[in-house]
Symmetry: C2
Subunit: 140 residues, 2 copies
């Protein structure tokens, strides 16, 4: 067992999730990819793990989201995307390629949060701020 796998098993345990080979592999892939759709994960895994089906991928991802291990996002190509980073952060999003890139900007988050606190929106209880910067991501 590699140290990464050991770490993943501990993360699962600390989120009250039973450790199964499927869960371990899927979490490893998510760590590698950062953002991915269920099908991307399935394609990535199925060659080494030929008993797995998409249904299991969805099952596992759902359990992760429920436990707060992943966040779920929706993209304009009509697919769910999952995100390993669960702290509040922004995204660069390219509608052309359906690529998400994390954009960390704690000052922006803080600034928006403070602004909203002052605004006191009526009949609304804020739980999360989701800022998406839409545009063209150029490869470097």
């Amino acid at each position: 067992m590699t140290p990464q796998v050991k770490e993943t098993k501990e993360i699962l345990k600390s989120h009250n999730l039973k450790s199964t080979p499927q869960r371990v592999v899927i979490y490893e892939v998510m760590k590698k990819l950062g953002h991915a759709s269920a099908d991307t994960i399935y394609q990535e895994i199925k060659s080494q793990f030929h008993t797995m089906t998409v249904a299991t991928v969805y099952n596992v991802l759902d359990s992760f989201v429920g436990a707060g291990l992943l966040h779920r996002r929706m993209s304009s190509n009509n697919k769910m995307y999952f995100d390993v980073n669960t702290y509040t952060h922004c995204h660069l999003y390219s509608p052309e390629t359906n690529v998400y890139v994390d954009y960390d900007d704690s000052e922006l988050i803080r600034m928006v949060g403070e602004h909203l606190k002052k605004r006191k929106i009526t009949n609304f209880e804020l739980t999360d701020i989701d800022i998406q910067l839409v545009g063209n991501i150029k490869q470097s």
Copy 2:
């Protein structure tokens, strides 16, 4: 022809869209609802317009999005939503009920825009800012 319909026809023409009864009705419904899914529009219309099918609703909505008359959004129940307000604005979104409410806050948009201008994100060409405030929308 009511004045609203006349106005809708002019809007269509000014966006280089041929005026058809279907397009007129769908745009009227969108103006009334603000945000809606294709199926909501279909349900709203089919009783008065029994030749129309969902395919046509999608067709019409696509042509509107292409012409910049509507914006397309994705919600966490895995459905497209269409939005009549095409200027940059924020949304309150309730994941429980899948309800969107427009939240106009020009100061917030301006503030975020200026912050991002200063940041100069590398390898990224910004075209739109999408701010979604997730939480609980209470009925007033």
